[in-house]
Symmetry: C2
Subunit: 318 residues, 2 copies
């Protein structure tokens, strides 16, 4: 393999595969473009949940139990905030708060999100390039049976309870995508991490020119399923597939991406879906996609890179 890998990622699943990729390739050849549409302002802080999950994971300081936040975290601020009547539904750990304080301060001083995150990631020892999908604000709004809700209200405060009718990304039509999402010169493959298609990957695709650039490039594009056995590994992807009228399976996800992906990494448990996915004109690689530990992440990453190589030398790709 030669050239860069561009990974599109949301939170936990994306971070895990990104860590695997960083471990099996030279980290400086990996660019992880991260969803920022579930960023929000809370308690006066600019919070970027997906960027932080990817950063903490790549830095080796993520909480392995929750998948978000930092390991060895303490909760003194939240405890004291609750005692004086503050809002505590969005749990911010003490160490994690330092990230929000520093990011917020620097954004207010006029620095771009990509510049702040580049520096924070460097200080935490992150190897790969880790870029926000855009420096401009994009905000996911979820229309539900209880009205339209800001993403974190639906996702965290209401714990994904209200049924989803539709989703929109406010600001996506004018936000400028990060350059890495438009120019694939030197890129060997695009990897769509096993993140939520609707709220992690779709916002990236919604940025001006990104969907077109991904559709038109001759660089192999491989998506890794976030659905195994009809269940999401983590989060509300399966619930959203159902509520938005898709097949609640890896096939539903492959259909959602079909038209611009070349390859789909399917879990071995779902091998019976391979033919239907292939019928979409998408090549299928079947393997164990569950990332229970770092060895799993490396193994899946190696499979994904091998699949990219195969697609690069086979069909239409350079």
């Amino acid at each position: 393999m030669s050239g860069r890998i561009l990974a599109l990622a949301g939170g936990v699943g994306g971070a895990k595969l990104a860590l695997g990729l960083a471990d099996v390739m030279s980290p400086e050849s990996l660019t992880v473009a991260v969803n920022t549409a579930d960023d929000f302002e809370h308690l006066g802080f600019s919070i970027s949940p997906d960027l932080d999950t990817v950063m903490y994971t790549l830095a080796g300081v993520a909480n392995p139990e929750t998948g978000w936040g930092r390991q060895g975290e303490s909760w003194a601020v939240m405890g004291a905030l609750g005692a004086i009547g503050g809002e505590t539904w969005f749990r911010l750990g003490d160490k994690d708060l330092a990230t929000h304080i520093e990011r917020t301060r620097r954004l207010r001083a006029g620095e771009s999100l990509s510049s702040v995150m580049r520096d924070l990631a460097a200080r935490l020892g992150v190897g790969p390039a880790m870029v926000p999908m855009s420096d401009d604000p994009v905000r996911t709004m979820v229309t539900t049976d209880q009205g339209e809700l800001a993403f974190q209200d639906w996702f965290v405060r209401l714990q994904c309870g209200p049924a989803v009718r539709s989703i929109r990304f406010v600001g996506a039509d004018t936000a400028r995508p990060h350059a890495a999402l438009l120019d694939f010169a030197g890129v060997h493959g695009v990897v769509v991490c096993p993140s939520n298609p609707f709220v992690s990957v779709a916002p990236i695709l919604a940025l001006p020119g990104v969907h077109d650039a991904l559709r038109q490039t001759r660089v192999p594009r491989v998506a890794v399923t976030p659905i195994v056995g009809g269940q999401a590994i983590k989060g509300p992807a399966a619930k959203m597939l159902a509520e938005l009228g898709h097949d609640v399976s890896a096939l539903g996800v492959a259909r959602f991406y079909s038209g611009w992906i070349d390859g789909f990494v399917l879990d071995a448990q779902d091998a019976t879906l391979a033919a239907d996915i292939a019928a979409l004109g998408v090549r299928v690689r079947t393997t164990d996609t569950m990332m229970r530990n770092d060895a799993d992440k490396r193994r899946l990453a190696a499979q994904v890179l091998d699949f990219v190589d195969e697609l690069a030398v086979s069909g239409r790709h350079s």
Copy 2:
């Protein structure tokens, strides 16, 4: 004794005497008006050091060693902030940060500082009324041999190093004083706590109408010395007395307040200054003013209240 006591307070010394007063009288008859001129904005937070010191002290959750901040405090946020290159010269403990987060959020939402503090103090179980000197921003600026500095830059970051030439209170000429500082109906005595005359008490006096109201009232006004044996109990009061050309003694403080105070509580160590203070037309009560523990605070508070009573029934007072 009948009627309310109005105490003017800054940080540590003021908080200690306020706690003593709250312990020896009915707390609901005590109003503590607190300096806000060393409030500042830092890391995006609205920080009110004196209000918080008084609140934590009256709530029984103050750190007895530092005099500021909360007892049993942890420092996880500051530690993580330092690790990512953030500013840590102003030490904000984890529990303390909750206060700043909640205050900042509510101020930004349009609530007044007095309203926020009333609620926070109530949630922490504070008995006496505790009011900011004003809901409008006033900011102490210190002109030094190294130029003009914002108060906390001089006080905390530079540890009071640069020599003080003069002090001004930006915004004091237009800030509206809290009503408790203008209307003394029902007030039995005004107590000037042993706080820094120049940066804790002077900003209160600088608010429109306050100095006049204090000068004209028939309510006894008693100041407690913050200087014992030529030394400040805590903080830069002695250094400021010297650098601003005052006598570095309780006499220097008594002269600074003379013209509107009726009584001065002098430490027994400084008994030789009593005649010079009396010569200013100020009655003197000599006692042990050191507040090493809660019993000391109560004893001094009882002395102060007794002195107020004595002044009320003697001379010109009603």
